[in-house]
């Protein structure tokens, strides 16, 4: 069985790309990568270390039009005889994988959290992280979209060949007017460490202490829904049931009570630290470490402790 892995390399290669290739390698000894991005050949070749036998790159695309990407990936799947296509479950996958599913008539498993079990089913998050489902694919070909931070990338090989590929992208019906990219920020769904705060911070002018801790840790910042709704923080930082779902290694929440809708977006986190003045806050029931205290005192202290830890050579 051959596996095709789609990688978005428009902004260089992220950890999620290495995870997706590693996932492909666990399914098959024959892994081809298809990418349309602008990453250079030597960068793309490093995907071989994670198990790619070959990287196909179509450089004809200027944007990330979902119809064009679908055609390129479908053509690469035909060329490489792939019976499974792997995506990292990011914004591109959410647009492209469903289209590809229809085009290839291949069942799509979105948001996989693990490799398929012996009986061929794939585990996914359902009910906004409150449960898991095991999905069986009935079609011969399958598409799996892997949730970031679900498996560890494994380096097993060396650089592989990179070949130019003409995927016959066809025309684009979408005209890109402008693209805004926040600088230096870690995309939340991929972040391994996240520092988040809620209404307990009392106002947007107080976010400095949250950002200081995030900076000391090298973490992304997030917020609760009320904070995004009243405009203290941008909407893309809102984690929860109706915001972004994240699954970092460490989630630190300050001044968030932990309503069920907030938990739905963060309960995939491996370790949760909760800081709240109210010892009865429901969030403590879901937390691994709890601190009953005032975020205005605890966060700066934690930042100092983290700095001390980092300066001691960690």
């Amino acid at each position: 069985m051959s596996v095709l892995v789609y990688i978005n390399s428009n902004n260089g290669l992220h950890k999620s790309a290495f995870e997706a290739v590693t996932y492909g390698k666990k399914l098959s000894g024959d892994v081809t990568v298809i990418t349309s991005g602008s990453a250079d050949t030597s960068t793309l070749a490093t995907l071989g270390k994670y198990g790619a036998s070959k990287v196909l790159v179509d450089r004809s695309l200027s944007g990330d039009d979902d119809q064009q990407l679908t055609r390129i990936i479908a053509n690469a799947a035909a060329t490489s005889n792939a019976s499974a296509v792997i995506f990292s479950h990011d914004l591109t996958a959410k647009a492209v994988a469903p289209r590809l599913s229809v085009r290839l008539k291949a069942g799509l498993v979105s948001g996989a959290t693990d490799i398929p079990t012996a009986d061929g089913t794939v585990k996914v998050n359902v009910f906004s992280g409150k449960a898991f489902g095991s999905v069986k694919v009935n079609s011969a070909a399958k598409i799996i979209s892997l949730l970031p931070n679900s498996i560890q990338p494994e380096e097993t090989g060396s650089d592989c060949a990179v070949e130019e590929f003409n995927g016959n992208a066809g025309e684009s019906k979408v005209k890109v007017v402008s693209t805004k990219k926040p600088e230096g920020e870690i995309p939340l769904p991929e972040a391994e460490l996240v520092v988040s705060a809620g209404r307990g911070l009392k106002g947007p002018e107080n976010w400095g202490i949250v950002e200081d801790l995030a900076k000391a840790l090298g973490a992304a910042t997030a917020c609760s829904r009320p904070v995004a709704d009243i405009g203290w923080r941008p909407h893309h930082e809102h984690v929860g049931q109706t915001g972004v779902a994240i699954r970092p290694n460490l989630y630190i929440a300050a001044g968030i009570s932990g309503a069920i809708q907030h938990l739905a977006g963060v309960n995939g986190s491996k370790v949760m630290v909760v800081i709240n003045t109210d010892p009865e806050a429901p969030f403590f029931k879901a937390a691994d470490y709890g601190i009953v205290g005032d975020a205005f005192e605890v966060l700066p202290r934690l930042t100092e402790a983290v700095k001390k830890f980092k300066n001691s050579g960690h």
Partner: protein, 246 residues
Amino acid sequence: MKILVCISKSPDTTSKIAFTDNNSKFDENGVQYIVNPYDEWYALVRALEIKETSGGNVTIITVGAATDEAVIRKALAIGADEAVRIDADPTDAYYTAMQIAEYAKSNGFDLVLSGKETINYNGSQVGGMIAEAMDLPFISLASKLDVNGSTLTLEREIAGGLQVVEVNLPAVVSCAKGMAEQRIPNMRGIMAARTKPLQVVAPAAVENLTEFVTYTMPAAKSSCKMIDPNNMDELVELLHNEAKVI
């Protein structure tokens, strides 16, 4: 402008999640169903706003059983003009999308809207599948949508940023936060919804490409370890040596 809004039911966000039949089915016992929030707050309300400024008609469509009509009436109460229910069990995204695409193709819509995902299956699949089946452009996770004649201007999230794009109608758009504000149906809307047309359509012959075979609940968290607020060095030490996350 003829707009089709795809809606799905989902359990109320505070519902207890449990499973029956050897963990193969969602336990509906005591569950209150609502219109999936992304479909209602963003897709449906934006469709109504477009209709209010530029005229047209808003049809909602769902794939589901007769018992789902309460949820359909709720969407009608918010202001949709008419509803279509494909009489089938929506257990697979491909099956569901093909049913809706079939109806949309034969009834000529300018714009098809869906929510960005359902809060129960979180698949984010149906919108893109409809677009592919109809060979239309698909703008996923749009947070803003404006209509100028036959052109749409949209803002959408892409990996690590925001993009403004233009696309000609017809098109399929999945709607995320920012697109519109939730509307609470008023008494007049609720009364009017009772008599609005609800057409029941037999499903087309389509196979299921996937199925959920079992469900499991996450392992219960061990109890929370409380740390002295004056001793953040201890927390850092635990995160490093015990939890091994920093």
